[in-house]
């Protein structure tokens, strides 16, 4: 891995569950429960896991769209979690996000030109009206939209085109890091491929670094340099993308990968069936969070919580018995 652009250290986010007459805090959802990873300059780190594992919350905590409960997020020599509002706003020029739902993340009352140009105005990046318009045009072309789309409203576009608008908006401020939160999950496969190709082209052209959050393992494998697998608020494995697919070490990663359907009827694989559902994150299991569903769990797995350890070069696993 190259020099890290972003370092996340022991990030935690607990949401309060209130109840009772006075809406006291009665419990906590441990959405993100001590996550650490690095992202190198120009690489794509894939963050995968099932619904509720905390992958989106992790992405949002990095940008402080959700305030983390504790932990550090180092970006360009500063701990993002300690920045004041002004410094934070300046920093958002360098960190942008693309959301899953291209329908919900665009203001329906603004034209495409206004949506893409908004960030340029906020950060004072356009000297004049004309310069602003030129920059917006350039951005639309970069993402494969046309000049005459500028005056139109989001509802006039298809899902794939709306996602392109979202990408143009993120690129407007020339960011270094883009957090892609399930950017293709809402799209049909043929359109999904268009957007994935676009993201790859843009990365090459502008030297972008991506944190790519998704639940679709085939998409993540395709686009990522390295992958982190999350389960119930914790990272259980981090490895190079091919390495993870060829030799997953954590039993959860192994089961997750074996569950991905392969679009080829001649391929017959052995599937590892996980029993039951993901436990409630309000009361996650003691010790290793995965021990209740783990096929190789031993008695002490419910006692001791495994640390993320580099078991092979560049391959980190949080398991007492694997690797």
């Amino acid at each position: 891995m190259s020099e890290p652009l972003l370092s996340v250290r022991n990030l935690k986010k607990h949401f309060a569950v209130s109840g009772g007459v006075f809406a006291r805090e009665v419990d906590r959802v441990h959405a993100v429960d001590g996550v650490s990873f690095d992202i190198g300059k120009g690489e794509t780190l894939g963050l995968v896991g099932e619904s509720g594992c905390g992958k989106s919350t992790t992405g949002r905590c990095i940008l402080r769209l959700i305030e983390p409960s504790s932990g550090e997020v180092w970006f360009q020599g500063a701990d993002v979690t300690r920045l004041g509002p002004d410094a934070m706003r300046a920093l958002r020029r360098d960190m942008q996000i693309i959301f899953q739902d291209p329908y919900a993340s665009l203001n329906p009352r603004l034209t495409v030109g206004a949506i893409v140009g908004e960030a340029l105005q906020i950060h004072g990046l356009a000297k004049s009206r004309k310069a602003l318009e030129e920059r917006v045009l350039e951005l639309l072309e970069t993402v494969g939209l046309q000049a005459d789309h500028m005056g139109r409203f989001p509802h006039e576009f298809s899902g794939g085109q709306r996602q392109r608008i979202g990408i143009a908006r993120a690129l407007a401020v020339d960011p270094k890091l883009v957090i892609c939160d399930e950017p293709v999950s809402a799209l049909d496969v043929s359109i999904q491929a268009q957007v994935i190709n676009l993201l790859e082209d843009l990365q090459e052209k502008f030297g972008l670094t991506y944190l790519f959050i998704a639940h679709d393992l085939s998409v993540v494998e395709h686009i990522s340099t390295r992958i982190a697998v999350m389960y119930l608020g914790r990272v259980v494995e981090i490895a190079g993308s091919r390495d993870l697919y060829d030799t997953p070490l954590h039993p959860y990663s192994e089961a997750l990968l074996s569950a991905v359907p392969i679009p080829d009827p001649t391929v017959k694989r052995k599937r590892i069936m996980l029993q039951g559902d993901v436990p409630n994150p309000i009361r996650p299991p003691s010790g290793c969070h995965f021990h209740t569903r783990c096929p190789i769990a031993k008695p002490d797995c419910s006692q001791r919580s495994p640390e993320l350890v580099e078991k092979r070069p560049g391959h980190w696993v949080a398991c007492h018995y694997r690797g």
């Binding site: 794939g160 496969v189 268009q194 190709n197 395709h222 392969i262 009827p265 599937r271």
Partner: protein, 323 residues
Amino acid sequence: MAEKLLEIKGLKTWFKTDDGVVRAVDGVDLHIDRGETLGVVGESGCGKTVTARSVLKLIDMPPGRFEAGEILWKGRDLIPVPAQEMDKIRAREIAIIFQEPMTSLNPVYTVGDQIAEVLRQHDKLSRKQAIAGAVEMLRLVNIPNPGKRVHDYPHQFSGGMRQRVMIAMAMSCKPQLLIADEPTTALDVTIQAQILELMQEMKDKLGMSIMLITHAMGVVAETCQRVVVMYAGKVVEEAPVEALFGNPRHPYTQGLIRSIPRVDRAAAQKERLEAIPGSVPSLLNPPVGCRFAARCKFAMDVCVKAMPPLKEVGPGHRVACVL
């Protein structure tokens, strides 16, 4: 040749809207043999769900209307069948499960009551017998502790468990055909694997046929014997699953298969995905010729003049393309 359980001939289901007539299903031919699993694939808006709902006559009329065609259930056309008789067919012969199990279960009744209702429609049972039957059904779909869970409400179940409840409800009437409309789309991969396995198990136990509607090619490859590919309201290709993946003939099918990232291929890592340019045409004014022509890289003059009919190109393999 196996017995045809369901045969759809030239079905056209249109919807009247303020903007004009939407030709959601526009001349669909397909059949399902006894005991087989047929996959119906295509992207959003291709008419696969409308086709499925047409079979059970679950289309609101108006705005919907059967413009032409026949739906032959064991040789008898369902289109002229009166509503009361259709209820009997829905209770005893054809069952359906939907994508979103939360919205298709009634939130104010316990799951036991809802399954019992189906059982009582089917057989003359007392309430007590029906609840006992519901417990049996929940046990059949591997819900832990069925005697207790039968008194729970839908919101007390997780997504995967709710889909199990839906399957239990569908199985209660011992149907000959199960229509599964995107049954695993809302679920995580490990839960998806569990549900697909459960459906296969139910199929083997009860000897029913399944019509599996999905957009996921991987799911099709792993569960279906035959596949029908739909595009913009029409069937463009029909083939046994091995032939469809091994030798796809329609450019749309080819594009669909190539646009999916593959985790099982080592070399796929840095290979570019083949995206299909453009997006699906509007069904308000569908093009006269082949509906895929505008996005097809092989399109010729003849393609835009008339829609090519389905032609036999191999055993059970039919394609609607001039090539």
